[in-house]
């Protein structure tokens, strides 16, 4: 008897799956897509982060502690003092600079080492290249890593050309670093050469310290606390790696969350597929119950079906995910084009543990998706289920007031602050809102549909009546539309707002006509005071202001903050910056003003009027926060101070960038040409008009968000699968109804029109609620998630056109899907369809 029942079950399952392989494939694909995206995002992130970690470790070698200064460095005398201490077994000094490669829009990291000291602390860096070390002492020699050699297409003996000021200097690649040294793109030269050639005489950027046995890092840190000048950090290499990884943490979390949303949508697809399958087999399943199949067994069987879908989908997803990750890393880089891990070339490592977790996650989501309808089917009394018109009842327990509770909690959670720098409550808030909306939807549908006017056109009238009679089934279709459309709307609004705010911000940041840089990247591109005068005196130039960019460490667990020395705006008491809120007038007697970017203000936890200490030139200086400005360019924060003050504090009169204002009569091109000529057509000079800068900035923005778009589209596609599945379920369930309608004289066309109307109404309702929900979610994305993740604000911008277009497309798609899914139900013998009601 037992085996007989299994056989029956198998026959039931096999039958429906054989008849509708497309649906099965869709369900499998839905899970696969979610798992694949999760796997890919995770693998790429994990590789990038571990690669970054590896890069940090490979530089620090066996060091117990790393002493690190800001871009302006610290005095080499500190090295001499540290190296002499009895607790220090070995200390390796280094100059560390990013140098622009002429003719390429990228930099290379130069590490100026003392190879003899490095041999004690970072032995693997130069291991085995004994001759290379002596070569390295020569003033024209440089060693480059294999990653750099591959990337730049250079080999030992070639010249590596680098930019200093607006000039180019060439170094001879004496040899390649050993294969195991580092996977970073790195060039190593002698510390004395680096100091001399790149203008860092007397300064160092880091000291890697190996302690004598018996000395703890904590004890040593305490002992030398007083020796370390302000703005210089001392930390274990581990902290160094974490500081680097913290850069991209919020970005990574956001991607992980998007992948999770996709997986969630995949589970929803399984839910609708199984719901559809159960509806189809309702009578057969009830018959099995009558024949003696227990509830538990029936439940297990349906869940097993879900598990099979989950296993197939997850397995496929893991494979696709690995392939996607490989592709993503090769084409976009470890940060998926976002620019966090510039000089690191990641290699993927497929951690089987992680792959397994995603596999299990996919299966679990599929089982959950199947369990809900299974529960309903198993609980129905067989006698009731055998009767027609029972479909509505299946859904009863899935809906109700708990939805409102979810929505209320979601709204409350959105007000919670960030946890550990991540907007976890914000994400949970969105999840709650979504769940709540889906749960409330059937009730809402009931409420709205009961107020539908009865139309004259018979198919429309029928549609209206049908919808009013089955509000809960409508709710399932609605939920699918709602989930995908609201997410799509919220992302569109968020990305649109960001892009719009960025464009406005660029206008505020770039008031001049032309921007001239001595190398856009790196730190060795600069204008000397003489060159600054040269720029001012070019014919056609009305005025030019100069900006110096440095960086400072404000907190030991965070990457350095950019320090911008900018001139005041003409006639203003502050520089031209896109301020948020009022700026403060600063008296000449009080501390000098500093203008903080939102990120820097959040980092320090200060607002306008607060006093802050900034370590400049290895001395702490007190500033008053005179204003907070919006900055999308420097994710680690930026502090602007007056350039005259900066020069007074540091004596550094160099500038990285010139903002050039033209005479009204001067032509941009002509002035550019004259500028280039004035610098001897040096390769390092970059001239961009404000228009070009804005365009390229927005292009970079779009590239960064490319991945977001991909994930978003995936979610929408899965959502549409769900819509189609739920329509199909209803259409199938209503075969008898169609039969009856045909019998009483309706044409197929009219029935199709009726279904189309139903689709349009459901679609329209879903889109309207989806728009509202999407708007709420976008508010959370913009003001909670984004603010907490990246610490920058943006103005809400609703891309009405795109939204309207999407909404129309979705409503039409719903109508068309409804018609198409009904076509199958309407084929076949009318008589048999009616007779089906046993």
């Amino acid at each position: 008897m037992f085996s007989g029942r299994w056989a029956l079950l198998k026959a039931v399952s096999g039958g429906t799956w054989r008849d509708h392989p497309g649906r099965l494939v869709l369900a499998v694909l839905g899970i696969a897509l979610g798992v694949a995206l999760g796997v890919a995002v995770h693998l790429i992130n994990a590789s990038a982060v571990s690669e970054f970690d590896l890069a940090v470790r490979s530089l620090a070698g066996e060091a117990d502690l790393v002493i690190r200064g800001p871009r302006s460095g610290f005095s080499e005398a500190l090295y001499a003092r540290i190296a002499r201490r009895p607790e220090v077994r070995a200390a390796s000094p280094a100059v560390e600079i990013e140098v622009q490669l002429p003719g390429r829009s990228e930099t290379i990291k130069i590490l100026g080492l003392d190879p003899f000291r490095a041999a004690q602390v970072q032995p693997h860096l130069l291991a085995g290249s004994r001759e290379a070390v002596f070569e390295l002492l020569k003033p024209d020699a440089v060693l480059i890593s294999r990653a750099a050699a591959d990337h730049l297409g250079l080999k030992a003996g070639d010249l590596l050309r680098m930019q200093i000021g607006v000039d180019t200097i060439a170094f001879r690649i004496a040899a390649l670093l050993p294969a195991g040294a580092t996977r970073q793109r790195l060039a190593v030269m002698d510390v004395a050469n680096a100091q001399w050639r790149f203008g860092w005489l007397g300064q160092l950027h880091r000291i890697d310290v190996k302690l004598a046995p018996g000395t703890t890092t904590a004890a040593f840190q305490k002992a030398i606390e007083r020796e370390i000048p302000p703005g210089v950090l001392i930390a274990a290499p581990q902290a160094e790696a974490e500081r680097g990884a913290s850069l991209s943490r919020a970005y990574r979390t956001n991607l992980d969350m998007l992948a999770l949303v996709t997986l969630f949508t995949g589970a929803f697809l399984v839910f609708s597929t199984q719901f559809l399958a159960i509806t189809r087999r309702r009578a057969q399943l009830a018959l099995l119950r009558v024949l003696g199949l227990t509830r538990a067994r029936l439940f297990r069987w349906i869940v097993l079906e879900g598990a099979v879908i989950g296993v197939c989908g997850s397995a496929l997803g893991v494979v696709i995910g690995c392939a996607l990750a490989q592709f993503g890393v090769e084409r976009l880089g470890g940060d998926l084009g976002a620019g966090y891990f510039g000089t690191v070339t990641p290699g993927l490592s497929f951690d089987s543990g992680v792959l397994f977790i995603f596999f299990v996650l996919g299966v679990a989501f599929a089982i959950t998706g199947a369990a809900l309808p299974a529960l309903g089917a198993a609980r129905r009394a067989p006698a009731l289920a055998l009767k027609a018109g029972d479909e509505e009842a299946v859904l009863q327990r899935l809906t109700g007031w708990p939805g409102l509770l979810f929505i209320a909690s979601g709204l409350a959670l959105s007000q919670a602050p960030a946890t550990d720098g991540l907007p976890l409550w914000g994400y949970l808030s969105i999840a709650f809102l979504l769940t709540g909306a889906i749960l409330v939807m059937p009730r809402l549908a009931e409420f709205v549909l009961s107020r539908l006017p009865l139309l004259r056109y018979p198919p429309a009238a029928l549609a209206s009546a049908q919808l009013q009679a089955t509000p809960r089934q409508v709710g399932v279709s609605l939920a699918a539309i709602l989930a995908s459309f609201s997410l799509m709307v919220s992302m569109l609004v968020m990305v649109g707002s960001f892009r719009d705010s960025l464009a406005t911000w660029l206008d505020g940041m770039l008031p001049a006509d032309l921007y001239v840089r001595a190398g856009s990247l790196g730190v060795t591109g600069y204008f000397t005071p003489r060159e600054q005068t040269l720029i001012k005196n070019i014919a056609g130039v009305r005025d030019a202001t100069f900006i110096r960019t440095q960086n400072v460490f404000l907190r030991s667990d965070r990457p350095p903050v950019a320090l911008l020395a900018r001139p005041l705006a003409p006639g203003k008491s502050h520089p031209a910056l896109p301020f948020e809120g009022a700026t403060r007038l600063v008296t000449s007697r009080g501390p000098p003003p500093a203008w903080l970017s939102e990120v820097a203000a959040d980092l320090l936890g200060v607002t306008t009027g607060a006093l802050i200490e900034i370590p400049i030139a290895n001395t702490k200086h007190t500033f008053i926060v005179a204003g907070i400005w919006r900055d999308y360019a420097r994710q680690n924060g930026a502090i602007a101070i007056e350039r005259t003050r900066y020069v007074a504090l540091t004596g550094d009169e160099r500038a990285n960038e010139a903002a050039v204002y033209l005479d009204p009569s001067a032509a941009t091109d002509e002035v550019s040409t004259r500028l280039r000529a004035a610098f001897g057509n040096a390769e390092g000079l970059e001239i961009a008009s404000t228009r070009e800068l804005k365009r390229s900035s927005l292009a970079i923005f779009d590239r960064t968000f490319a991945v977001t778009y991909v994930l978003e589209i995936a979610a929408v596609v899965i959502g549409l699968f769900g819509v189609s599945a739920s329509f199909s379920a209803q259409a199938l369930a209503r075969r008898r109804e169609f039969g009856v309608l045909r019998h009483i004289g309706m044409t197929r066309r009219e029935i199709a029109a009726m279904l189309g109307c139903e689709g349009l109404v459901v679609g329209g309702l879903g889109v309207l609620v989806g728009l509202a929900l999407g708007w709420v979610i976008s508010l959370i994305l913009i003001h909670v998630i984004n603010r907490q993740s990246f610490h920058w604000s943006m103005d809400m911008y609703l891309p009405w056109q795109a939204l309207a277009l999407l909404a129309a497309a979705l409503v039409i798609a719903a109508g068309v899907t409804a018609v198409l899914s009904a076509r199958r139900a309407m084929t076949g013998d009318v008589t048999r369809a009616v007779r089906e009601d046993w």
Binding site: S129, R130, K138, D167
Partner: protein, 380 residues
């Protein structure tokens, strides 16, 4: 050597050869560079190296200090230690200074104009092989240096320093610590012609070279977890030059022996690719203080016994009959295995260790023997 500062060092000559090749290599690259475009300000001018010239009279203590204008220089102390328990050990402490000829115009204090290399070894008979350690650093910020005018050369906490009439050395090696004081009992012994020691037939191949034999050793040795008070006798060599090596040399044999009667003997020979002696030299100061310098023909090294290294398979003549003028000595090692294998670092394998000298089977002195170029000819 770069892999780890503590790995072993080659012989002084091998190392000097390596360092001496630096400026030549640099010049070559500078020539190549001139054909390439747009290189700004990358050349550096080299002040010529000072040359060894005949007629110079060594002055003490001024010439005990560093001579930075010369390409290479070393202070080399070898000797025998006796612990209170009467155990005998050989030890060696060396500081090299090398002027690279590089970056003479670079104002950075890190500019690698001068490099100091230190090497130490301990011959412990109970262990049966050498304990080694080495350091290398550029002269920068006072962390390593060689003082002019008096002996004071150091890398971090390793140092050799003149202290009144005596010298103090403190070397904290990986496996042992030497904290020794060397007190001269005799005047310096000038090698060659008034301290100008010829290293080959060509006149430019020469060095300024003096030795201080019969240094009385006192101090402490920490080794294998124990700190011993030690005594003994040692030999200091101080030599500087800008063109030390004759191009024919593929290896050499050298001895420096403190004779029990107060006499002192230094003898060396340079071997060519065929293993034949193409140059030799040395000096002997007898117990009364009368000095004899030897012509190349006056010095003869005759191998007596070979020892084959189980590690490298190289055979070294570790026992010798050495004839230098009127002197004839049998040389026997304190222990056979005093080989240093530095193929992983500098790339040379050589033998340098403590030896006993006998005459007609009676012990007459103790000193050090150095054997190079036996495994492979030294590349120059």
């Amino acid at each position: 050597m770069i892999r780890d500062s503590r790995t072993k060092l080659s012989t002084r000559r091998r190392l000097l050869a390596l360092l001496a090749s630096l400026p030549a290599g640099y010049t070559r690259s500078a020539e190549r560079k001139q054909t390439l475009p747009r290189i700004t300000n990358n050349e550096s001018r080299i002040t010529p190296f000072a040359q060894v010239v005949s007629g110079y009279r060594l002055r003490f203590p001024q010439d005990e200090g560093s001579h930075p204008a010369f390409r290479t220089e070393w202070w080399y102390i070898t000797g025998w230690l006796e612990t209170s328990a009467r155990a005998q050990m050989g030890f060696q402490i060396t500081f090299f200074r090398a002027r690279t000829g590089i970056d003479e115009e670079n104002p950075s204090p890190f500019a690698p104009r001068q490099i100091i290399i230190a090497h130490t070894a301990l011959s412990d008979t109970s262990r049966g092989s050498l304990l080694n350690d080495q350091r290398i650093a550029r002269v920068a910020l006072g962390l390593a240096g060689a003082e002019e005018g008096r002996t004071h050369v150091w890398i971090d906490d390793w140092s050799l320093e003149q202290d009144g009439a005596a010298y103090g050395a403190r070397i904290a090696a990986r496996d042992f610590i030497l904290d020794l004081r060397f007190t001269p009992s005799q005047l310096p012994l000038l090698q060659g012609q008034h301290g100008l020691s010829a290293k080959g037939p060509r006149p430019e191949s020469a060095s300024y070279y003096y030795s201080i034999p019969h240094l009385k050793v006192g101090g402490a040795l920490a080794h294998a977890g124990t700190r011993f008070s030690v005594g003994g006798s040692a030999w200091l060599d101080h030599e500087w030059s800008s063109s030390y090596m004759d191009e024919r040399a593929t290896g050499w044999d050298w001895i420096g022996i403190n004779l029990d009667d107060g006499g002192a003997l230094m003898a060396f020979r340079m071997r060519d690719a065929a293993g034949a002696t193409f140059w030799a030299g040395g000096a002997f100061r007898d117990a009364r203080g009368v000095r004899h310098a030897f012509e190349p023909s006056g010095v003869e090294f005759l191998p007596v016994r070979l020892w084959r290294s189980p590690r490298t398979g190289t055979s070294y003549p570790v026992a010798w009959r050495v004839r230098a003028g009127p002197i004839e000595l049998m040389i026997e090692p304190l222990m056979d295995d005093q080989e240093s294998d530095t193929r992983a670092s500098v790339g040379a394998v050589y033998w340098e260790g403590a030896v006993r000298a006998t005459h007609e089977k009676k012990p007459v002195g103790r000193g050090y023997l150095e054997l190079t170029g036996y495994g492979q000819p030294l590349r120059l």
